[in-house]
Amino acid sequence: MAEAMLAADGTPLKRSLARALRRQKLRALGLIAPLLLFVLITFIVPIASMLFRSVENEIVSNTLPYTVESLASWDADQDTLPSEDTYQAMFFDMFVAAEAKRHTRLGTRLNYETTGLSSLFRQSGRKLDDIADISYKPLEDLDGAWDEGETWYALMNARDGADTALMATQRARIARLTDTETNGVVNFAPDAEVAALLPLAAREYTAWAIFVATQDGRDPATRDPWEAVAPALLIDLQSADLGGYDGPHADLLRAAQAANLPVPNFTDAFADVDKDWGNPEPWATIQTHSGKYTGGYFLNAVDAQKTADGMAWQPENKQILITLFGRTIWMSVLIMCSCILLGYPIAWLLANLPMRQANLLLILVLLPFWTSLLVRTSAWKVMLQQQGVINDVLVWIGLVADDNRLIIINNQFGTIVSMTHILLPFMILPMYSVMQTIQPSYLRAAKSLGATNWTAFWRVYFPQSIPGIGAGSILVFILAIGYYITPEIVGGTKGVFISNRIAYHISSSLNWGLAAALGTILLAAVLILYWAYDKIVGIDNVKLG
């Protein structure tokens, strides 16, 4: 048997080689790692967070946790209203949300799905105190002690044992509602015995105590609780057995139970606040969109909606986003075609001129390529205005009457002309590099075999230049469909792209979920095109300048 080959230091050659290879790989990775980490953190994670935001929908269950829970068993198809329990859960959820000023945010979110919910939530938020007062006023009239924060604190605060589970769930509830940390010190813990006896009142009082302590930075021991604890207490007292209770204020509680004070009927009370609450419709919207994740934004992005019965399209005349997607693609195709038309002769000329002249002319192509995008866009604004250079020249020549100047800006024409100009170098450069490789002798051979100039070009030269056209076209198309600045400035309202809509939703309408969904769709389209580009041309063949 042959001896294993040994390296100079005596280890087997195979192992030595493997070790050297491993070291080489590690060194290469070590060089790449800092940049890879940098790109992952500053670029890939943001993109991923955008993708996540397009499906994320925690706002409904964060703002109305108990309502969502209670609505789960309700069947929207039956055309009945939700149960009194749901209305009751809604009251307490809304009360806390209104105190945290979060109910309008939820209203805005649900308004994307059903128009009118924004104002419904905003107005209802103001009137919740009226509902609470149905119980609060009589309770206060019965005994002035109920008006004191200290009474409530003494009743609720832990004596023998605290209900830590209740404390933890309420901390989490307020944290999710307000999007803040609620781990701070709270000078309160719900008493386990009272929490078992008066579950609803303990729950709402605990939520209030955590809210004032963590959000307002105040001591719950000395503050008056929200009015909502009064109806909660009276609801509890309707069924509570106070027989064995001998904690603080036991006599106050017994008196309140004996007085049989009024508890609001939440179904009627909500209908009084706004008659829309007496319809199943807002409830169906809440139920449909109560999931933590939603495809709703994607449906909105293609002019459809998620309803209780599944998906529904917007009426034809309101399908603005589909129209916009269509227009983006259509205009990008037009821009691509005009780039091919204008770029092909230039690339041909450059490829067939002597090197020195070609290099000189190439500068005319590279100069716009290197010039700031904003400069080129402002140049086109100057050229295309009604009082601009092109119109002035036409009037001066006499082609156009002075009072009848052409409108060539703030419409599709303006966008197409200026974007063709801006993207033309991206078409010419790949075409030029392909055409440089086509042998002129092929054309001469075709002609010597009897082809006319046209046949020689069309049958011999043109097929060889197609890879250049393909590369340039995909590049121009990809760049065009994601363009924002130029359409924004010269496009008016008719010449804008889907990117302008994304920017609008980010900065003006603040519908970030929809913006993220539109962005995700656009990203998917671009990635598919790039994949095609990679297959046809190869990413490595991207050349600059």
Binding site: K25, A28, F38, V375, N453, I489, G519, I539, V542
Partner: protein, 294 residues
Amino acid sequence: MGLPPYATLGQRIWYYSFRVICGLIFFFLIAPIVVVMPLSFNAQDFFTFTPEMLRLDPAGYSLKHYEDFFTNPQWQLAMKNSLIIAPIATIISVSLGTLAAIGLSQSHVPFKGTIMAILISPMIVPLIISATGMFFFYSSLGNWMEGTLGLDKGFVGYVKVILAHAVLGIPFVIITVTATLVGFDRSLTRAAANMGAGPVTTFFRVQMPLILPGVISGGLFAFITSFDEVVVVLFVGSASQKTLPWQMFIGLREQISPTILAVATILVVISICLLTTVELLRRRSERLRGMSPG
């Protein structure tokens, strides 16, 4: 390519009309950029030629828009911001990018395709999408830096914009430097090692001078990307990080002063300088690699 003496009349007509067509397309490419320059000397606040300008009357021309650019605090702030953000972003992308390009150009790099795709992605993803993603992520990053690290608000704003611009410039550095490294003769580093140079010495004394043209032109690309970028800075930055393109964008949208044209002219002059530099570097690099200068 010249016209043969036996060409028919039709061929002659085609030959010359083709030249005219090409001339018109070149005119289309250059005219908008050239038109901006004389207009920036307009004595009036118009975006078009006045009769005085067409008569070449000196009274029709003035430097007032340039004066406005150099005295207006808004424009000066924008200029200052651009000159802070772009160079720092360029330094970050060039230093990280060059190291990674050297790593990528070695043989036996695992997951090379995936890594390359990730590093190139900022160039592929449309700016509006990068801007959207960064808008969400960088605002929480900014809150964290202000809240947890207790950093100054203005400083955090610059950090956000610089990081965003640095990552946008990286693909250009990677592409140009890897292209330069393709022609790099590996035996040179081995020769240096053989003569006792450590890896660091080899890098700075042997490899770096040879790939420097690629590194510089990559850096110029990264610089121009940041200097010219407006979408991301609009979304990520706040008013105190307003850059030149941002100020121009506002001016164009709200149609204010023709100072924009003066700025545009200055930027065109800068881009001509950059173009010349890149072209000279490309030729030098090809000469160094033993190719004939194009």
